[in-house]
């Protein structure tokens, strides 16, 4: 099982969980399984064309999958997957 860290803005779509354990051999499989368990996440992670949204980055441990093998990046037990979306500070009142 691989630990996926869920950022605050996406926790409403994971029953408020900040960590979800998922199985899979690649990043693509993990995210597929994650969005199957929590379908509400899908539209926040993926655009209509199936690509990861450009304001969402995914890291295996401390490395960005864009510089690894993207969705084909292999993962092994003990790895941590982080989803890091861009966040805006306090909007003007």
């Amino acid at each position: 099982m691989i630990k996926i860290l869920i950022p605050t803005p996406l926790r409403p779509f994971t029953d408020k969980l900040d960590t979800v354990e998922v199985s899979g051999a690649t990043v693509g499989e993990l995210l597929q399984n994650l969005t199957t368990m929590h379908p509400g996440l899908k539209q926040h992670l993926y655009a209509a064309d199936g690509k990861l949204r450009s304001f969402v980055n995914v890291y295996v441990n401390d490395d960005d999958i864009r510089y690894l093998q993207k969705h084909e990046t292999p993962v092994k037990d003990g790895d941590t997957l982080s989803i890091i979306p861009s966040v805006a500070g306090g909007a003007r009142p």
Partner: protein, 389 residues
């Protein structure tokens, strides 16, 4: 920074003695700080601790860009502003606070919304830009202007219990667009106003930004370049992610497509009027001066002067015959007003009343004008016998 470093006065040597006795700073480092110019974008949650520590540390010139007015809801985290500052422009309270902290620091204030038109010129005299902005259009604007002008960007962002920080746009380092090429569409990511923010969180992140700024000025340590710091206050955990400069980055890559500042509201999918609404209106159907208002009242025109300040401000001074509904109460009390009345919206200086104007229009009010300069304009132009605050 170039040329001769300024000398430290006797007072400054006393004040900065805890810096001077450390070899990493020393007299030369303190003189570098005195020579340095840092521009803070925003005097809010992040800008407050950052500017206070930079001023205390002896950064010689601090610029602040902001056009907002202090609101009660700011006080939970924006330490530049105190309770008596509610209703004042943030720049005024920031300047008072920073001058009191360290009168040796030269404070430059810019009462403006940062825009594609003014950013390059505003950035020009500064060495480091500290991004304390709260919205995506300004963040991309700050990033691009930093890359285009070759100024490092000490970046921070906060949401609820989580914060992010990095240093962007150094010569060989990545920029914000290397990290996030595009902003989220409006509405998909909640803002702090909807999501809330843990009051102490900007203290941590803003001080990280100030720390990195000072390190850049002194040229010491390992800067937060190519590293993305994520802080979770609830778990009290810092994580560090690796950031790379993207060769295909549209602004700092090898074949940039953004070579000058663009329209960032459009880029972020925000309708320009949503941003414009925060600024005082200037055209005649939108606004009028105190002199105009006095003339209309003297002619006996049927107007409703709506004062949207807080009750305690209304006790200090008012336009005769005006009615008071504080801006924060307007969403539940606007029904007390006739939507077809000719309304003149008024506050202290014209910011809050512009928001009230926008709100009432969104509720179908047909004639709402904003009083330019607010009660202060009224006192200046019409009734100097009333006190100002």
């Amino acid at each position: 920074m170039s040329g001769e470093l300024p000398e430290l006065s006797g007072d400054e040597i006393k004040r900065y003695s805890r810096h001077l006795i450390m070899p990493e700073v020393g007299v030369e480092g303190q003189r570098k700080l005195k020579a340095a110019k840092v521009l803070c974008i925003g005097a809010g949650g992040l800008g407050s601790p950052a500017a206070m520590y930079l001023a205390a540390a002896g950064v010689g010139t601090l610029g602040i860009v902001d056009f907002d007015v202090v609101d009660f809801s700011n006080l939970q985290r924006q330490l530049l502003h105190g309770t008596p500052d509610v209703g004042r422009p943030k720049l005024d309270s920031a300047k008072d606070r920073l001058n009191a902290l360290n009168p040796n620091v030269h404070i430059e204030t810019y009462n403006a919304a940062l825009s594609s038109e003014n950013a390059m010129q505003l950035f020009a005299p500064y060495d480091v830009i500290l991004d304390g902005t709260d919205n995506f259009p300004t963040r991309y604007l700050v990033n691009d202007a930093c890359v285009l002008s070759g100024k490092p960007n000490a970046y921070g962002s906060i949401f609820r219990f989580e914060g992010q920080a990095s240093v962007f746009a150094t010569k060989d380092g990545p920029c914000y667009r290397c990290l996030y090429p595009e902003p989220p569409p409006p509405g998909l990511v909640p803002s702090c106003a909807e999501g809330g923010v843990f009051g102490v969180l900007p203290g941590i992140i803003g001080v990280i930004q100030a720390t990195e700024t000072i390190k850049l000025i002194l040229g010491i340590g390992e800067p937060l370049i190519g590293r993305f710091m994520i802080y979770d206050a609830l778990r009290m955990r810092f994580r560090e992610l690796r950031l790379r400069k993207d060769a295909d980055c549209p602004v700092c890559g090898t074949h940039p497509t953004v070579t000058k500042l663009i329209d960032y509201e459009q880029f972020c999918g925000v309708a320009p009027h949503q941003v414009e609404a925060a600024k005082p209106m200037t055209t005649s159907i939108d606004a009028l001066t105190a002199t105009d208002l006095k003339a209309e009242l003297d002619r006996g025109e049927q107007l409703v002067v709506l004062d949207v300040r807080e009750p305690q401000e209304y006790q200090i001074n008012k336009i005769p015959g005006s009615i008071l509904i504080p801006l924060g109460d307007l969403p539940k009390r606007y029904v007390e007003l006739d939507p077809n009345a000719r309304i003149v919206s008024q506050c202290k200086s014209g910011m809050r009343s512009a928001k009230a104007q926008d709100f009432l229009r969104s509720k179908g009010f047909t004639s709402v004008r904003n009083l330019t300069g607010g009660i202060l304009g009224w006192i200046d132009q019409v009734d100097p016998s009333q006190p100002k605050y």
